[in-house]
Amino acid sequence: MSNLAYAPTRPRVAQPAPPLRPARRVEIVPNRALRRARPKPLYAVVAIGGLFALFLGQLLLSIGVSDGAYQIASLQSQKAELDRQQQSLSEQADVLSSTQNLATKAAQLGMVPSGGTPAFLDLADGRVIGTSKAASAATSGVATLANSLLPESDPTTDAATGAVGDAGSAGDTTAGDPAAGEAGTASGEAPAGTASVPAGTTGAGTTGAGTTGAGTTIADESQDALGSTGAPATPTTTPPVLSTDGGLPTPTTH
């Protein structure tokens, strides 16, 4: 290319302008070979479109995954909630299926334990082995074994080991009684006031008669009755085996 800066200058001589010719578009007419060699627009569209599609896809996937993470978190917290409820309910179910509760409820329904020994039916030959006798009210009894998880205002629950009153263990800062909390939702029936006292309630020291009144009154009475039995048991010390002197009195064991 020539460097016009160094082009020698010549004085310009006005020359008549060449006659204007009508402008004409000049096109190169492509022949088949040239046409074939031209890159097709479709490729460009596909390439760029594909690129955009990839980006879009990645974006959507990422959104979907993050959304899924939120769903997972929400479902997990639901599951944790349900787990907690299930644990709480099965804990209540365990307490309600305790032997003391079943015996108490059965006694309240008027059921009595079966009397005597069972009879057997020999399936091989249809023989009846043994005899059984009918149960009578005299053989019935109520639970006397403490279970502080059961509603304590139930008058038939034993007060011997001091289950009356706050069943919470020492050091527990919650004033809410866990037993009452569970019983409130589990047993449904109002305690003490409406529990029907079974006919054959004897023994156990509870005054199971007639008016139930306030559950604590009955419990207090039985606690007094048992409180008079004296000091708590002290374990036996191992008795001396050898006599240190000849003064051992004659044992009169049976």
């Binding site: 365990d94 079966s114 051992l248």
Partner: protein, 587 residues
């Protein structure tokens, strides 16, 4: 095109500048991505990731039928962040009071308590971030606190899980199961089998976003939690309940200090029921006197008395020194040249057979025969029967009883041991003796734990140990035969008889030694026997410790009878097919 020098210079400069900038970036990149990569990763992970404790669950204690005696439950602690509850520009005193009221109502506390806790913590440390408001509350209380917190967006109260223990059956088998303290097991099987029951907590780390949601694919479980194994006991909880109820009622009416009932399956030594009075409710340990926190059946040893006459008779017959028909002239008093021995009822000289001695429970009679076997030999038998050492159960706080070596026996003790005085044993040991007699003379190890079932299903800690022959089958069966005659011929026969069953039993009224020496007025009364005699399946020993209102062993008979009946019902023991072969009592 030709390039001029200045063009080339400009191009060179711009290229160099570009390369320099790129070089700085590359160096910085290498520095960040390679050299300091670890430090940055750790720092960022620390800011993003959260470590949580994955709680393992402590194993359950179940009985032979799967009834849960001790289970793990979830309780919750209500905690607070005192510094967030401090009054500030954004948090007025009135708002604080309202929030305290809401929290207190939900948690079942008084507002004063909550306020005190917060203020004390703040006073000690103004930046305090933790104060415990309530411990081990139930799910309902926790939900209430959560609801209260959401309702008024309280920013300083939290709840966290607190694993706890529940004992659904209360004091039924409570003295066996034991209980937990604040952190560790304190008594009973919870303590002695802690290795089986304990769980190990794990931890897991995950990365969280700003709003607390776990970043997908980011959880890394550092350590998996391991749940504890399930401890399977041999006892049947319903039978335990019945036995405990029966001895509780009886002990209360007899005003006894303690009482036990032990039921053992004869063929393998498995304990079917261990009933103790006084009992312990593991849910409410503070209601029990600390002295009462024991399993009396294992921990209390006492002189058993005449129930051990069956053991002496077995020794004599095994050595061929006596038979049920052996004739003995039994005087009214026996001089041991160390003391005198009398029977429970005064009598003149009686002509009793060995059977008669058993039926009448004659101390003098058995003492007359006991010298037919040497001291040393009788001592060895007693060791083999399990006296003087703890049983294989190895219960927490178990006593081994007392049995002095034969060369230490003075003249009185030499005879006294033949009727169960001068030797101390626990109810479990006495039950083991009767198990041996019922099992044809083969003593099986006394077993309380069947095994420990791990979470993956394998069973570990199955007690090993095989039976040991103590006396011959003939000797054991002969003694059982004599005990059947006790049930049919003794004066308390109507109290123990169960129609259709050939029961075998022996009574015992043992004197209790006083601390200074000599015997006092107290008695330990018991009945030990087998269901049933022709095919012994279960040994039952019921003991009343120091009854006050009735010190005769016949007072124990109705309890023994009821428990025997319940054993028959529980295990469907079939009636006996043969009548008891009557043995002569006198000659």
């Amino acid at each position: 095109m030709r390039m001029t020098r200045s063009t080339r210079r400009r191009m060179l400069l711009s290229t160099v500048a570009t390369l320099a900038v790129i070089g700085v970036f590359v160096v910085r990149l290498v520095d960040i991505q390679i050299v300091q990569a670890d430090a940055f990763n750790t720092e960022s992970a620390g800011k993003r990731s959260v470590a949580t404790t994955v709680y393992g669950q402590r194993g359950d204690i179940v009985d032979a039928n799967g009834t849960v005696l001790a289970g793990s439950i979830m309780r919750y602690d209500i905690t607070a962040s005192p510094r967030n509850s401090a009054v500030s520009a954004k948090y007025t005193e009135q708002e604080r009071t309202n929030d305290i009221q809401a929290v207190a109502d939900a948690a079942g506390l008084t507002p004063a308590e909550v306020r005190t806790k917060l203020d004390t913590a703040l006073a000690k440390n103004p930046e305090s971030d933790y104060a415990l408001l309530a411990s081990k509350v139930t799910l309902e209380v926790r939900d209430a606190v959560r609801a209260a917190q959401k309702a008024t967006t309280i920013g300083w109260v939290y709840t966290q899980p607190h694993p706890a223990r529940s004992y659904p059956l209360g004091s039924v088998a409570g003295s066996l199961v034991g209980f937990m303290g604040a952190d560790a097991a304190q008594f009973g099987l919870e303590r002695s089998e802690n290795a089986c029951l304990a769980a190990t907590n794990g931890s897991s780390t995950y990365e969280r976003s700003l709003d607390g949601v776990q970043l997908p694919g980011s959880e890394v479980v550092d350590r998996p939690a391991k749940n504890g194994g399930t401890l399977k006991l041999t006892i049947v909880s319903d039978l335990n309940w019945f036995a405990q109820q029966a001895i509780t009622r009886s002990a209360q009416s007899l005003q006894a200090k303690w009482a036990t009932a032990v039921v053992v399956r004869v063929k393998d030594g498995h304990l079917m029921a261990v009933a103790d009075y006084p009992s312990v409710d593991p849910n409410d340990v503070n209601a029990s006197d600390p002295d009462d926190i024991r399993s009396t059946s294992f921990a209390t040893s006492y002189e058993p008395g005449s129930t051990l006459k069956a053991m002496t008779a077995a020794m004599l017959i095994d050595q061929g020194k006596a038979t049920p028909y052996t004739r003995v002239t039994v005087p009214g008093i026996f001089n041991t040249r160390g003391g005198y021995i009398k029977d429970v009822f005064a009598h003149g000289t009686m002509n009793w057979t060995l059977t008669g001695i058993m039926v009448n429970s004659s101390n003098i009679g058995i003492s007359e025969l006991t010298d037919r076997v040497s001291k040393q030999k009788r001592y060895e038998y007693m060791l083999k029967f399990g006296l003087g050492k703890k049983t294989e159960v190895g219960f927490n706080g178990e006593a081994s009883g007392q049995l002095a070596p034969a060369d230490k026996w003075d003249n009185l003790t030499n005879y006294a041991v033949s009727f169960g005085q001068g030797v101390a044993a626990t109810s479990a040991q006495v039950a083991s003796i009767y198990q041996t007699l019922g099992n044809g003379g083969v003593r099986m190890p006394l077993t309380l734990v069947e095994g420990c079932e791990q979470p993956d299903g394998t069973v570990t800690d199955v007690p090993t140990g095989s039976g040991e022959r103590v006396v011959s089958t003939k000797a054991a069966n002969t003694v059982v035969n004599m005990l059947e005659n006790f049930v049919t011929q003794a004066s308390m026969s109507p109290l123990v008889t169960i129609p259709g069953y050939d029961l075998a039993a022996k009574s015992g009224t043992a004197q209790v030694a006083k601390p200074g020496g000599g015997y006092g007025n107290d008695r330990v009364t018991s009945i030990a026997g087998l269901v049933s005699g022709d095919d012994p399946q279960y040994a039952i020993v019921v003991t009343m410790g120091m009854p006050q209102t009735n010190k005769a062993s016949s007072a124990v008979a109705p309890v023994w009878h009821d428990i025997a009946e319940q054993v028959i019902k529980t295990f469907r023991v079939k009636p006996s097919t043969k009548p008891v072969p009557t043995l002569p009592v006198s000659w």
